[in-house]
């Protein structure tokens, strides 16, 4: 690399001419380090840490979302109200229920199909296309298509039920039907993400283990049970945790497809915050709900994070 015209630094330290002294180098490191890190840190503090602190402050006032200003001090009464409000706990339960319904399906089905797909030497691109393409589709487009397929009487899925001799549930009018609709949609939409994580982990396994097992007379089923699944255990842990955190943050599909209905019976906690903060304009109250929800999510990821670091200190 040739030293051409480099703008000399503001302090006049010219690295081209004078060899760096130890202290000069340390000072250069310090200044350059902060200069490089500053853009990130400014945005990070302003728009990630900032909202946490703002939420914390607002939750102690009776702020409304329509007017600027924080309103007047109400102490912890917003929190007391959130924690005693049945609607808040109902929406919390809906987020948890959604997580309980989707996590087993989205951890185990992609595992099964990633293993089966890995038994085939060719056509990997086809599975990647079929399973992963839905993941890049916007939530609203997914909901448009599924809403059409769930249409009573005429929808494709509604009719598919009668082809196999079943009656389709009322996807928009009944709570259980609505959960079915949203879980099936989510399965189709996000299946590919976990499928890719498993497929990548399987492809990293060495061929030799399988060859050795085949020579020892292990059939495909034994290979899967004794080699593939045990080696996939760390990936399963990762997928499980990413899935739990993603499912607890559900909003898009329930809001767009069902608007939390029928009669708020599927409304997730993010929509509860949205409704109280932006429809009822109770900013302070919604901020308190935000903080409660936020703390729950942070505790879950912190526990997982620490557990993972202890098992595998090398990994970030």
């Amino acid at each position: 690399m040739t030293a051409t015209a480099i703008p000399t630094s503001a302090t006049g330290v010219d690295v081209q001419v004078r060899p760096e002294t130890a202290r000069g180098a340390a000072r250069g490191h310090n200044r350059a380090g902060w200069l490089f890190a500053t853009p990130f840190l400014v945005l990070y503090v302003a728009f990630l840490i900032g909202p946490v602190l703002i939420g914390l402050v607002i939750s102690l006032f009776n702020t409304t979302t329509v007017k600027s200003g924080v309103g007047s001090w109400v102490g912890l009464s917003n929190y007391a109200e959130v924690l005693s409000q049945k609607d808040f706990w109902a929406s919390m339960w809906h987020s948890v229920l959604f997580t309980l319904l989707t996590t087993p399906l989205l951890v185990l089905l992609p595992l099964l199909f990633a293993i089966l797909a890995s038994r085939m030497a060719r056509k990997q691109w086809f599975f990647r296309l079929a399973f992963f393409a839905p993941y890049v589709v916007p939530s609203s487009a997914v909901c448009l298509i599924f809403a059409f397929m769930y249409t009573p009487e005429t929808g494709l899925i509604t009719n598919a039920f009668s082809w196999v001799g079943l009656t389709a549930p009322d996807f928009f009018g009944s709570t259980s039907g609505a959960w079915f609709a949203v879980v099936l949609l989510t399965l189709w939409w996000t299946f590919g993400f976990n499928f890719i994580l498993y497929t990548a982990a399987i492809q990293e396994m060495s061929e030799e283990i399988y060859e050795a097992a085949a020579i020892d007379g292990a059939g495909p089923w034994q290979q899967i049970r004794m080699i593939t699944i045990p080696l996939l255990r760390p990936t399963m842990g990762l997928v499980l945790m990413l899935q739990v955190l993603a499912s607890l943050k559900v909003f898009d599909q329930i809001y767009i497809l069902l608007a939390g209905g029928p009669a708020y019976s599927t409304r997730p906690v993010i929509q509860y915050i949205y409704d109280t903060g932006f429809t009822a304009y109770r900013g302070g109250y919604a901020a308190a709900a935000t903080m409660v929800y936020f703390v729950i999510l942070v505790v879950i990821s912190a526990v997982w994070f620490l557990a993972r670091r202890r098992n595998n200190p090398a990994k970030v």
């Binding site: 380090g33 609203s140 448009l144 890719i196 495909p220 898009d252 767009i256 993010i270 970030v316």
Partner: protein, 274 residues
């Protein structure tokens, strides 16, 4: 391989292929419906062919909603987000790897903690902040909060750490400034990390829903994802037009996906961004 093994593999192949074909049905169904006339759909809702294929629904879908504007908005927002995220996060990662500045470990811990912050939960205080800053309704309101992405810093961090240190020292001895080392030595070697972060940030930004819904309130200033959601549950008889809108909403990202399939899959596998 013995007979039973072959049979097992064939069975697995059939099973997974069948499942993959089922996975394609929603796409195909939207496409088929969008190409049939409405009266035919009403008469035979589940018939997968038509006597009169046509593109009329696309014309009326394009004319009845400001889809063109939505495309433009989504494209500008996603592109700017990608550029800023890549530059800002790689610079921070470079500083963390190669520069010994005071407070480095505190900064590192701060970013590490950021991996655990569920930003989606913070829309309400974020909204108050942007209203106070008078940025509501602008592209910046959508772009600014998504730039400082801790995961991206760690992706770049692990890549930059793998660059041999003698390379950096040699450039230093040649008198190159840190800025130049970053631009001409480190960034070219980080190309896989750049493409992984860029592609995944683009997809995430294009598909973002709740935050753009809150801050972009004018119909014309919305993104594709937010704009399309207003069509759900709308006019129940215009099946073809609704499905045409869905297909148009899917098209740009599906094109990106088809072009960059392998890189996208690799990016997901390497980073686990969600």
């Amino acid at each position: 391989m013995d007979q039973a093994g072959k049979l097992f593999n064939r069975l697995a192949a059939t099973c997974v292929t069948l499942f993959a074909l089922i996975w394609l049905i929603p796409f195909l169904w939207a496409l088929i419906t969008s190409l049939r006339p409405n009266d035919e759909i009403a008469a035979h809702p589940t018939r997968p062919w038509s006597n009169n294929w046509n593109l009329d629904a696309y014309r009326s879908a394009w004319n009845s909603s400001p889809l063109g504007w939505w495309y433009v908005n989504s494209f500008i927002i996603s592109t700017l987000t990608v550029v800023f995220t890549v530059v800002v996060c790689s610079m921070a990662a470079f500083a963390l790897v190669h520069l010994d500045f005071r407070g480095k470990y505190a900064v590192f811990a701060l970013i590490l903690a950021g991996l655990m912050l569920p930003t989606e939960a913070l829309v309400l205080p974020q909204f108050m902040e942007f209203r106070a800053l008078n940025l509501l309704g602008t592209y910046w309101a959508v772009i600014l909060p998504s730039i400082a992405l801790p995961v991206a810093v760690f992706v770049f961090h692990s890549f930059i750490k793998a660059i041999p240190i003698p390379l950096i020292e040699a450039a230093r001895l040649d008198g190159a400034s840190w800025w130049r080392i970053y631009l001409q030595v480190v960034m070219p070697l980080c190309r896989p990390a750049i493409s992984a972060v860029a592609i995944l940030t683009f997809i995430t930004s294009w598909n973002a829903f709740l935050w753009p819904l809150l801050v972009l309130t004018q119909t014309k200033s919305q993104t594709v994802t937010v704009g399309l959601s207003s069509l759900v549950g709308g006019a129940a008889i215009q099946y073809a037009e609704t499905m045409a809108s869905a297909v148009l909403g899917i098209l740009p990202l599906l094109a990106v996906f088809l072009l960059l399939q392998r890189q996208i899959a690799q990016g997901v596998a390497n980073t686990g961004i969600k």
